[in-house]
Every structure is written in C-alpha cells, then in structure tokens.
Symmetry: C2
Subunit: 194 residues, 2 copies
C-alpha cells in the first residue's frame, strides 16, 4: 500500500494526502473496477509512441493526422507539445499538418535547438513543397524566442517558405480595461481591416 501511495503521489498535482485517499479508494473497490486503470496505464505505455514524421502521439508508425490524405501538406503548424495539437484541432480552423517540437528553447534550462525536433522540421520544410510554417508555440518568453529562432532557421534553409505566427491580442469576451499593456499593444499593432 505504501508503494501505491508513493507512486500516486508522483503524479502532478497529487500530494501525499490525496494519494492516500486514492489508494484507499482503490483498495475498497472490486477488482473489476480497479484493474482497468492498471491495464489502461500499461496499454498506453505499450501502444502509444511518437509519430515518425511529426512527433505527435501515434499508435502506429505515423499519427492519424499524418495518415489523413485530406490534410494539406503545404501547411505545417509547429507546436511545443502533443497536448497543444488538441486545442488547435478543436478550433476547426486548421487543415494542415503538425510538427511537435517537444518543448521550447530555453538556454537557462539547458534546452538548446538540438534538444528539440528542429532539424527534422527543417528537413520536412526543405523537401516537401511546404508553403507555410505556422509557429503556434506558447505566447510565453520561451515560446516567442523559439518562434524567432525558427523563422530565421526556416528562412536560411528554404527562403520561399513563409513563417507565420499566431496573432496576439484580446481574448474573446474580454474587456479593454483588464487587458495588460503588452497584449493591448500587440492588439493595436496587429489590427485588421473590418
């Protein structure tokens, strides 16, 4: 039981107390209720790997999006993590393919270009008739730094490929009054014709 509590407590956001509560819950339910969780953990670790092309999560050698012939190959959206693919898919606005970097550049934390899937991105960009790379890294310091680095790297490798960045501005439903000045400045600079 102590080993179970210890393993549960390693999960993010789960402390010692919650781990205890979860462990005793698992002890109290029947085998049929508890074992599917164990199986699910084992299955996911056995079966889910990385897409060979874009490094998204994949059950086979390549992920579902890379396998889907209807997705535009000329458009590549670059994200930091596989979890970032989900919100972009949910918008229904993107019909291209993805490339998961595996993080963002952060020299302080020792994350250099070689630690991310940047070389593979440049390979894809220069070989495949790609028209545009949409950099959808986070709007954080490291995400912005990564975007600028990629813009330079892609330009050097394949001048004809456009590198674009997600718009920064007011989130939908927000009041001007509560906007921070950097975001509002971006919203002003990025204004578009109505």
């Amino acid at each position: 039981v102590n080993r179970l509590i210890g393993e549960l407590a390693k999960l993010p956001g789960i402390g010692q107390r919650t781990a205890q509560r979860l462990a005793f819950h698992i002890l109290s339910v029947s085998d049929e209720e508890a074992l599917p969780l164990a199986d699910a953990i084992r299955d996911v670790k056995e079966q889910v790997g990385q897409c060979e092309v874009c490094f998204n999560l994949a059950v086979e050698a390549t992920c579902r999006i890379c396998q889907d012939g209807r997705r535009e190959g000329a458009l590549i959206c670059v994200v930091e993590q596989p979890s970032d693919v989900i919100p972009i898919e949910r918008t229904g606005e993107f019909q291209g393919r993805y490339h998961v970097l595996g993080g963002a550049l952060s020299p302080i934390d020792g994350v250099d270009p070689e630690d991310l899937h940047i070389a593979e991105l440049l390979e894809r960009v220069s070989s495949n008739g790609v028209r545009e790379v949409v950099v959808a890294t986070n709007a954080t310091t490291t995400g912005e730094a990564t975007a600028l680095y990629l813009a330079d790297a892609v330009r050097e490798r394949a001048q004809e490929v456009a590198v674009t960045r997600l718009a920064s501005g007011l989130p939908v439903g927000s009041d001007l009054e509560y906007a921070d000045e950097v975001t509002l400045g971006n919203a002003l600079r990025g204004r578009h014709t109505l």
Copy 2:
C-alpha cells in the same frame, strides 16, 4: 451617520458592511483627513466634464489629447468608455486621437445607435481628413456588434476611410493549452509573417 452609510453603499462593489466600516473610519479620523475626500468628490463633479470633440473626460471644453497638436488627427481610436482610454495610452503604441462612444450597442438593454456618440463620430470622420478609424470596443458580444455597425456606418459616410479592429488572439504570457477555441481560431486566422 445612516445617510453616510447609505451613500457609501451605493458605490459599486461596496456592500452594507463595508459601508459601515468606511463610515466609522471617517467618523474616527480628524477633519483634515476626512474633508479632502468630500472636497475631491465635489471638485471632480464640478470641474470634470466631457470633451466637446471626443467625449473623453475633460477639465476644459476639450480634453488634453484633443488639445495636443502632436497627436495625429488622421487616426481616431473609438472606445466604449473614458476609462478605456487609459490602458491604450499606457501601451505607448497609439499616437492618434480618441472618440468615446459612451457604451456599446445592445438592443436588448435598449442601447441604440442614437444613444451613443456615433453621429458625432461620423461627423468627425467625414469632415476632417481622417484616414483610419481603429475600433477598440471590448472583445465582447456587444463590443463586436458595435464594431461591425461602425464599419458599415463609416463606409457609407466616407468610403476612403479605413475601419480597423484590434487583433484578437493569445494574450501575452499565455499557454495554448488554456486558450479557448474561439480565441485560438482568431489567433490562427489573424496570423502574421515573422
């Protein structure tokens, strides 16, 4: 004392309990501490009015920004409330002038075009060599509806004047993972070349 409590409780965000606490604080401090508040309220009501040109707050007939010859007259930023001028000024990105509507269109709440300073905006736009109207209403339903209404109205009145809208997108410092899909969709559609 009850009258003071009653008046304080009319302020937004101040309930009966807080009003009581404030009233007893005012009773406990010296005249020199309490009376400046009374004077400040009286002065502000006496002296601060609306700018004749842009309906921003003004001590004289026109506001400081309208009086400032260095501000670009060809660029007008339309906001809902005088309080919205402050965050835009803080960005340091805007060198034009303002026009305060006094609210946003909302037929449900009975706010029609005639209730806002729209006629005066159209007057300014058609007479003064204005080049661009930046619509900086809130990113809310009523703010967006007002923006679309203004775009049509300005186009009808002065075809050569561009009507632009603040960018919608990721606020600075935010993670993709936590962005709502409408905002992220806007960020994708509004992407710009790096």
